[in-house]
Symmetry: C2
Amino acid sequence: MKRSEIDDSALELIASRFRLLAEPMRLKILHALGDVEMNVGELVAATGANQANISKHLAILLEAGVVSRRKDGLRANYRVTDESIFALCDVVCSRLERQLDLHREALATIRQI
Amino acid sequence: MKRSEIDDSALELIASRFRLLAEPMRLKILHALGDVEMNVGELVAATGANQANISKHLAILLEAGVVSRRKDGLRANYRVTDESIFALCDVVCSRLERQLDLHREALATIRQI
DNA sequence: TTACTATATAACGATATAGTGATATAGTCA
DNA sequence: TGACTATATCACTATATCGTTATATAGTAA
């Protein structure tokens, strides 16, 4: 298979994975969750967002297999089950920090002129 | 800083990074590029996409610092400068493969019943 | 039963952005 | 100069999806 030939459905699959994390509110939810279990109400409080909105994002994350859901009476408890999420965020954050460092250096150099 | 308190602008920055990769056509471009330099026409041929579309995606990738641009006469040559992109794709692909394996196993188990 | 609570979902408007055709721009060559 | 080529950009349509309000659903408790 040439580099140029890659299955479109595979590309869509990968893209959809990135699309999951391309939303600040979903990142906020995942960050709030960390490695602990939280119910919807707690996530609403932690994020300051609308309950319907949180439920919708959780449904999306659940559908994608990023979180699991455990029903307990009226409460729905969510937990991150896909640790690779955090690895992805680490790579992105490292890259962003490095990029900012480079910009800082460039500015410092210009200032000397 | 509590887990729940994270700067919204930081979240937006991280999300925008993932948004870059949340588009199949951009993934296709990056995959075609790999570690070689290609001009727009070559990328149009490699992806089978519209020239205007490729140029727009390249502008987005350039603005984000993922690729660099080297003008040579009429040609514009692009090259991936942000290797972390490939690390991200690796993580995602590994995760997707694992997820498919799990589904396969689950199906095999059910079939035995 | 009724009242209450937690969560999910439907419906909607607003916004963002992908893809496309037409055109502008700039370099090359006769 | 004029014709041609490669790329960028404009204007537009179509589509996706976020956030919100209202409502449905299901469990709890009196």
